[in-house]
């Protein structure tokens, strides 16, 4: 423990000395921040400085092994690093699917060569990744996917279409699922492949969301060539890799929303401002009750993620966390935004232009975007199926 306190002091000092002043207090979450990559734009160049100093130490990926450029920190040290970043109000230097999805998957399933080829680019924020799973005919029933890959010499040739590919237009590489054996049972003919988005034959078309933003794309693949060495794990064993990655994805989504609880303060202040006071209390008792219910559930959720971590540390077998956290974390985020919309009332109806404050316009868009949280990464219904089957042992 003394070592950890030394580490804390040194970390604090180092962060304070190296973090540019202009990035302090910039809020971010796992889904909102600096995604890096070749196409990254830096309206504030200090964000790039921040990325580079942190990447230099491997602290963009604190727990990854040092031989690939990671930080090599223990879980406890990582927690301390995070705490000290919070204390100094420093944003994450880098976010994205490289760090949260494909990286952990490569660490588990990649060959040494694959790890050395791809992990450093992720850690330095040079390569941005996207996820090519869903197809027009294959969403919840992902294993029914049809995009074909045929081995020709030492390359796979890919033909098909992916959809809802988040940020495909901004990504440098894609990890994807392809069908390599159309005769086999559906889960057994799938391979997990990596593809350079600059390969000829890859085309992306952004799709507009109800929030007005275009965070995802249709991705068309026409005779796209990718070297056979880009197969992760084994040919036709991609489903195993895919499922493991989905676990990482659900954990990421859950913790992204589990950590927004600090915004409760804004909620209280907003409620007082919009609804007025009755003595020293928010005047609307129905809203008060919803706020308390939301805050309580959110605290209970965070305690449950803590309990899961503590149990893992104590060597207890992992529970059904990822599906449960995915459902609960995403619903909490939706409830938070719906509650804020109720509190803001007509002020939450703005789309753009005069008469609305920026925070109000952002709220409207965030609320609409949040409706996708219970769909992306596997819908809530699918997570409930998983809990019923794997945890409760209920039959199909």
């Amino acid at each position: 423990m003394a070592d950890l306190e030394t580490f804390r002091a040194e970390t604090h000092q180092w962060l304070d000395a190296n973090a540019p002043a202009s990035i302090r207090g910039v809020g971010n979450t796992l889904l909102d921040g600096n995604w890096g990559g070749r196409k990254a734009r830096y309206p504030n160049p200090d964000m790039k400085v921040w990325l580079d100093v942190m990447a230099e130490r491997g602290w963009t990926a604190p727990e990854w092994p040092t031989q690939y450029g990671g930080g090599g920190l223990s879980k406890d040290e990582t927690k301390v690093l995070q705490q000290e970043m919070n204390t100094l109000r420093l944003p994450a230097p880098l976010i994205g699917f490289g760090l949260t999805m494909i990286g952990p998957t490569l660490l588990q399933y990649g060959t040494e060569e694959q790890k050395h080829e791809h992990l450093p680019g992720i850690i330095k924020g040079e390569i941005r990744w996207c996820q090519g799973y869903s197809e027009p005919g294959s969403g919840s029933d992902l294993a029914s996917l049809k995009t074909r890959a045929i081995l020709e010499g030492d390359h796979y040739v890919i033909n098909g279409q992916k959809v809802w590919t988040s940020f495909a237009n901004l990504a440098d590489w894609m990890f994807m699922l392809v069908r390599t054996d159309p005769e086999a049972k559906k889960q057994e003919g799938i391979t997990f492949l990596l593809v350079d988005m600059e390969s000829p034959g890859v085309e992306t078309r952004p799709i507009k969301l109800i929030s007005g933003a275009s965070p995802f794309c249709e991705t068309f693949l026409t005779d796209v060539h990718t070297p056979a060495k880009n197969v992760i794990f084994e040919v036709n064993k991609g489903w195993t890799v895919a499922k493991s990655l989905l676990n990482h994805e659900r954990n990421m989504i859950a913790s992204a929303f589990g950590t927004t609880a600090g915004k409760g303060r804004t909620m209280r202040d907003w409620a007082k401002e919009h609804l007025g006071l009755d003595g020293d209390r928010v005047a609307d008792s129905a809203i008060r009750d919803r706020m308390a219910q939301y805050e309580m559930d959110s605290r209970a959720f965070r305690l449950t993620t803590e309990r899961a971590r503590d149990a893992a540390k104590a060597g207890r077998p992992p529970g059904p966390e990822s599906s449960m956290f995915k459902i609960y974390g995403t619903e909490l985020n939706q409830r938070r935004l719906e509650l804020l919309v109720s509190i803001a009332g007509p002020h939450a109806l703005g789309w753009e232009g005069p008469g609305f404050e920026d925070v109000e316009l952002t709220l409207t868009r965030d609320w609409l975007r949040s409706r996708g949280n219970t769909i992306e990464g596997g819908t809530s219904e699918i997570q409930l199926n998983i809990i019923a089957k794997r945890v409760l042992g209920l039959p199909d």
Partner: protein, 379 residues
């Protein structure tokens, strides 16, 4: 404090679960109900006390184990599994904790070791008609008569009132009906002239009684804590007792849920087990999640109570609101998923449903605790 049981607690939990499973099936509650006795079994309470459970919280100098609520919680969870009605709430969580916290040296000497051995039963009379969950709504009067006091009023649903060797009563020595100041606690023998104890029959069959106080004269030595400061003591003790109650509720909801799952896996309709129907699967998964969240919260609040953390009241409200809602959800869904058999008196599901409701309405229901949470959080 980490949110995992220590090895000692794991062991205690295992012992408690085994004991309760073997010696206290739910059928025992049914027999006690139909027997119209004390509402619990004194022999069983003796056995539980011999296992050390009655004295877990009692300081070592008074013959207890001097352990914490986190330890007692694992026992109460086991007890809650089978709805065992022994007097943990009245005697251990309320009476015992109150005397240990605020009692005079003489009062502690007189009662604490007897609680630890299971020989003494206590009852805390704090609730009145229409006081709902507000401990400051006390209209029972205590008028000064020289050094002594004269008590008049009526307390309701006093847990184990009819079984108690001593009553602790909240009464007003000053102030208006809702005033938190001016409430004083008195310790008195149930056979003091002017005390009438009338057993009540509740939906959950826990022993409870009306306590009528008709000009009851008690001496200055019967005051517990400081005159006029009873509300602070009462609030703190009820918060601590709520932690224990939540652990009991966690046990109850876990058991009815396990029973329901068993039924989903065995009952067949349309040629398949009903647990294969997605409408039921998803609802079962939701109940499961609610119970998981309750477990985290109960562990956290018990740790916080033992560590004397400053946001204890917030966590107590969180735990009680959650456990109230989840226990009711688990029992409502339990009965629904059992179909007709779940509605019968012969089946256990109804016993859990009744206990869930009674536990919800002890120490504040979910809405009351959400309102308290909001006040504590400044809105």
């Amino acid at each position: 404090m980490a949110l995992v049981l220590t090895e000692d607690q794991e062991l205690l939990a295992q012992t408690a679960r085994d004991f309760v499973r073997t010696n206290s099936p739910v059928s025992r509650l049914r027999a006690l109900r139909d027997g119209q006795d004390m509402g619990f079994s004194p022999d069983m309470w003796q056995e539980m006390a011999q296992l050390g459970w009655a004295g877990i919280l009692i300081p070592e100098e008074y013959g207890g184990a001097g352990m914490g609520l986190a330890d007692l919680a694992v026992v109460l969870e086991a007890v809650g599994h089978n709805l065992a009605p022994e007097p943990f709430l009245s005697t251990v969580l309320l009476g015992g904790q109150l005397l240990a916290d605020a009692g005079s040296p003489e009062q502690k000497q007189a009662w604490l070791s007897g609680i630890a051995t299971g020989e003494k039963i206590l009852a805390l009379a704090y609730q009145e008609a229409r006081s709902r969950y507000d401990l400051n709504r006390v209209s029972t009067q205590a008028a000064a008569e020289g050094d002594a006091w004269r008590l008049s009023g009526e307390k309701i649903q006093v847990l184990d009132g009819q079984n108690a060797d001593a009553l602790i009563v909240s009464a007003r020595t000053a102030g208006e009906d809702n005033d938190p100041d001016g409430i004083t606690l008195f310790l008195l023998a149930p056979d003091t002239p002017g005390v009438a104890i009338i057993p009540q029959t509740r939906v959950d069959n826990r022993a409870a009684a009306l306590v009528n106080l008709d000009g009851v004269k008690v001496g200055a030595e019967s005051v517990v804590g400081a005159v006029g400061q009873g509300f602070q003591t009462l609030s703190h003790i009820v918060d601590l007792a709520t932690v224990g109650l939540c652990a009991e509720m966690l046990g109850g909801m876990s058991q009815i849920f396990d029973d329901t799952l068993d039924y989903l896996k065995t009952r067949e309709q349309f040629g398949v087990v009903i647990g294969s129907f997605q409408a039921l699967k998803h609802r079962a998964a939701k109940v499961f999640m609610e119970i998981e969240l309750c477990r985290s919260v109960v562990m956290a609040v018990a740790n916080a109570a033992d560590a004397g953390e400053s946001d204890l009241a917030l966590l107590v409200s969180l735990a009680k609101a959650r456990c109230s809602d989840a226990f009711i959800l688990a029992t409502n869904e339990g009965v629904q998923m059992h179909g007709g058999i779940g509605m019968t008196d012969e089946h256990d599901a109804g016993l859990y449903m009744k206990r869930a409701r009674a536990a919800e309405m002890t120490f504040g229901d979910a809405a009351w605790h959400r309102d308290r949470w909001a006040r504590l959080r400044g809105y």
